[in-house]
């Protein structure tokens, strides 16, 4: 099946000269939940802005459902719902009015039943006649989600949906998102919390300084993140790893003065005790040892390093 969103060679340089996106290539699969993970200023909002038509790209192209976002903007935009990062709402309109307005703006005929369904799912039904200005921040965020869903989009963008959101809303939101995914909607969310990506996503893309440095199935990424390294500082340097120790897949570094063992913290057995026993049996002594976790940051560095 062709990807629902296809980004190729996308770049953006702002008027300030800042290069927010550098030749980004990315494909989003139909029906998946994709988490775009990256620190502040990485270019997540810029990327979303371009796909939705808010930011003008400097180079490259994007298609949504096979429609070019510039030449066939009507077809591509009609497929997309966007929940922006900032709480930008009208003030004096009611919840019902503002959600219905979005539906009209997207060219859909009025459908009170659908609007009601969306409002109920987001626990906004009781407040449908309230002016938006009278709502709390969390409620306003719900309104923004309701607006994005008003025109029954096939693709939903959520830009940092859980930043500053209370637990209750977070849970409601996950529920809505899962239900949407089950109904076939593709969901792209940005976050700088690894846990959030872990909780929700099918696939994770990591963006840093305007570059996508990794796109991976979540399970695979989490396996990498779950890995730890045990480094043994040897008493005597080794020329090679003894064949008896081959099953541990050890590697030598620092001119044979260090032995490195990689293991999975989530596995039932880490194999450390066995390794230490076998080392003693092989007559290899060590002065010291320490462990390090391969953090997302390390994976970044590793990946960026390998590319060059």
């Amino acid at each position: 099946m062709p990807p629902i969103i296809s980004v190729s060679g996308l770049s953006k340089t702002y008027a300030t000269g800042l290069q927010a996106l550098k030749q980004v290539d990315l494909e989003i699969r139909r029906g998946e939940i994709f988490a775009l993970l990256g620190p502040n200023g990485a270019g997540k909002t810029t990327l979303i802005g371009i796909v939705c038509g808010i930011v003008t790209p400097t180079g490259g192209s994007v298609t949504v459902g096979g429609h070019d976002i510039v030449r066939e903007y009507r077809a591509s935009r009609a497929m997309i719902g966007l929940v922006p990062q900032e709480l930008t709402t009208n003030a004096f309109e009611t919840v019902w009015q503002t959600v219905s307005f979005t539906r009209g703006l997207f060219g859909k005929p009025a459908n009170p039943a659908h609007v009601e369904k969306v409002l109920r799912e987001l626990s906004l039904w009781e407040r449908r006649k309230s002016k938006i200005i009278t709502l709390s921040g969390g409620m306003k965020r719900r309104v923004l989600i309701a607006k994005a869903l008003a025109h029954e989009p096939q693709v939903l963008f959520l830009d940092e949906p859980t930043a500053g959101v209370d637990v209750e809303l977070r849970q409601d939101m996950w529920q809505v998102i899962r239900a949407l995914r089950d109904s076939g909607v593709t969901i792209i969310l940005t976050t700088h919390y690894i846990e959030e990506a872990e909780l929700m996503a099918d696939r994770v893309g990591v963006i840093n300084k305007g570059e996508i440095i990794l796109v991976e199935e979540k399970a695979e990424l989490m396996r990498k993140l779950g890995q730890k390294r045990l480094t043994l500082h040897l008493a005597e340097p080794l020329k090679e790893v003894p064949s008896k120790l081959a099953p541990y897949r050890l590697s030598l570094s620092a001119n044979g003065r260090e032995l490195v063992y990689t293991y999975d913290t989530r596995a039932a057995r880490t194999g450390i005790t066995g390794l230490l026993d076998d080392l003693t049996a092989a007559g290899i002594g060590f002065k010291d040892l320490h462990t390090t976790q391969s953090s997302l940051e390390e994976i970044f560095v590793d990946l960026v390093g390998r590319r060059r």
Binding site: I54, R77, L82, P84, T89, E93, G104, L105, G107
Partner: protein
Amino acid sequence: MNLRAIRAIYAFEMARTGRTLLQSIVAPVITTSLYFVVFGAAIGTRIAQIEGVQYGAFIVPGLVMLMLLTQSVSNASFGIFFPRFTGTIYELLSAPVSAFEIVVGYVGAAMTKSTLLALIILATAGFFVPLRIAHPFWMLAFLLLTAATFSLLGFVIGIWADGFEQLQFVPLLLITPLTFLGGTFYSISVLPPAWQTVTLFNPVVYLVSGFRWSFYEVADVNVAVSLAMTGLFLAVCLAAIGWIFKTGYRLKT
């Protein structure tokens, strides 16, 4: 054509007026009534007729024009400035709507409001002075053309403005003086010849003159020239808006 989007924007803008009815309708009506009381009744009785028209009646087209211009500009500029200010413009930019549809929605609503207001003021004037409209069709044509042109201008200002000061700046410091100096309260033929020439650079002269002609068949400039100039202003505003959407000026980053 996304007609539903046009309707959504138009209805949104009209609802905004509904909420601020006092500000939008009542205030301009009171202001205009005061003009009639002061200029028409108090001062007008001491001024002879101008080109065969009683002074109170003579100023009616100019006053209606004054309101039409300021209201068109402020309605349209506020309409598009506000979403830029609050950030809700993201929705407009990410929706499957064309520049044309956005403009029709916003400018159409601003035009509707200012035209209705102009008609209300005209009716109000009828209480103070005897009104005669020689060419109702042309009267309406000038009204609508001017409302369209200045609503478009307002739209441009609403996109250009960085803050509320700039938003107030144009109507207050440009439109009002130009209208006062554009023959609202006098015929420019009463000015010294040199000033008459200067005045011809004031676009409002053409609007007021043409509009007044549709009432009393007296004009400062030929009515065909008035019509042509109004059309020219309209074209300039349309070109400016075309450029804005083509370049994304102040709309997109």
